[in-house]
Symmetry: C2
Subunit: 296 residues, 2 copies
């Protein structure tokens, strides 16, 4: 890593949405210089305002950073960032590392690893969980696959935003596979919470007490605790994660399951809730809005 | 309540399975005399060994107890206990109370309340959650519906086994409705945990680390925490709750949903896992065994 900027060197950061911004803050706080790129000019102005540098082109990153962290949204944006117009891959130096933290298809990630390896670029397949709060506090859980030696080398960078780094496999794609399975449970639990609370409403049960009982025992889930109140108060405008994010993520679950001939029945049932909600125009609302599938 | 036995009077207790036994111990510990009934003679010998009395017929209970607590398994056993051969209902004194803690169909409970009321017997519709451990420790969560004055009267008895008593409604059946919704989430979460861990196994992920990651964040559920280790270690012989219990309970969820024209898609998907497992001869195993639907 270049020592040109922060005391620990410069890190490239692509994707300055809510997650990426939390990561930028933590990288800067821990002593790294951050050179950021985003299609949204406002995000770059924000980065400069907290002491980072806005990249005007790929070379602004690749000429000073041997490590690039990606918090773009999906496969497609990753493809654009690396191989699209003025993409990074063409000018990344041999031996440099692309740390991919987006939620992506394991199949795409496996292929990406090979393509980058052919250009002497290392991939660290490392999606995260922990949401906006984890990103802001530097406590994200990171699911890591890739070359263990490369991982050791970039650990200081990853520890700046990850509270827990779990090394799963040297086999590329296994980090993304783990994230897919994590999302399977998250999606099923949201859909189930919506179904249970909607059924309580249909039955005329007092919803506050219902939620308290459900949260207190064997029926509880993290998602019920987090989304339950929004569901029973019909509050979907403060979006922590949108319905369409789970349309995407449960889609990845189904694709991955199909690829290994795995009949993911629960995930299928949950996917239908999210896509039905999206089809009714609720895609941009908070994902707690899937309860509207059950309630007029 | 008669003061003949324990300092607080005699309580009838029907159904001395694992749940009922914990309740018996707590009633005795808190100063009640317990007159118990069960089809299993061994259970009655056990009750006597801890200081309770074994009922030889209905009159052994109804002549001394104005409060009867029921921990039998289901609607059918409740029907037998009350109205079957030498059933209790015929000799229960006017004004006495039947506290029904079994998991039963809300529809059956509503009808039962009317039938008992016609005999001047009060029903307290009060299923529980908290399992064997809650029963043993007297910390069961109790979901109560019925006449509030009657509930106040029997609260000392219910507090002997219930750590938290939630009064939901004066409308009979709403306690059972709440329990049905609780079981909806429990069943979905077990089936989802099995699906996620089976998919991790199919993908070749390290299962210990997978479970640790899933339990640590947004994907977590009480059921994943409780059943997860049994699922990944293939340990289904120590039965805390059997597959067939959830075949029954998810059946109650589906019946109740259908009754109110509620499309409980997630519950349907989970029900299929339990009944499929049962159909393959796994019904008596611990419910964590539903993972075998996905794994050879």
């Amino acid at each position: 890593m270049s020592q040109a900027q922060g005391s620990l060197g410069s890190v490239g950061l692509v994707g300055l949405g809510v997650m990426g911004r939390g990561v930028a803050e933590n990288l800067l706080k821990k002593g790294f210089a951050v050179v950021g790129r985003d299609v949204n000019p406002e995000a770059l102005t924000w980065l400069q305002s907290i002491g980072g540098q806005a990249a005007t082109d790929a070379a602004s990153i690749t000429s000073v950073c041997d490590v690039v962290v990606s918090f773009v949204v999906n496969d497609k944006q990753t493809e654009d960032v690396l191989f699209g117009q003025d993409g990074l891959a063409a000018s990344m130096r041999p031996g440099s590392v692309f740390i991919a933290c987006s939620t992506m298809s394991p199949k795409y990630v496996r292929e990406l690893a090979v393509r980058l390896a052919n250009m002497q670029i290392h991939l660290i397949d490392s999606p995260v969980t922990g949401g906006q709060i984890g990103a802001r506090n530097g406590t994200l859980t990171v699911m890591v696959a890739g070359d263990p030696d490369v991982f050791e080398r970039v650990k200081p960078v990853m520890s700046a935003f990850g509270g827990k780094l779990f090394f799963l496999s040297k086999e590329q794609g296994q980090g993304s596979q783990m994230k897919v399975i994590n999302q399977l449970l998250c999606g099923v639990h949201i859909a189930a919470a919506a179904e249970a609370l909607a059924m309580a409403k249909r039955s005329g049960l007092p919803l506050d007490t219902t939620l308290e009982i459900l949260k207190s025992g064997a029926a509880s889930s993290w998602m019920l605790g987090d989304r339950g109140t929004r569901m029973i108060t019909d509050s979907f405008d403060n979006v922590t994660s949108a319905v369409d994010i789970f349309v995407k993520d449960m889609g990845l679950v189904l694709d991955s399951a199909r690829e290994s001939s795995f009949a993911a029945s629960m995930a299928h049932a949950a996917f239908l809730q999210f896509i039905e909600a999206s089809g009714h125009g609720l895609g941009k609302l908070d994902d707690a809005a899937v309860i509207r599938n059950y309630i007029d």
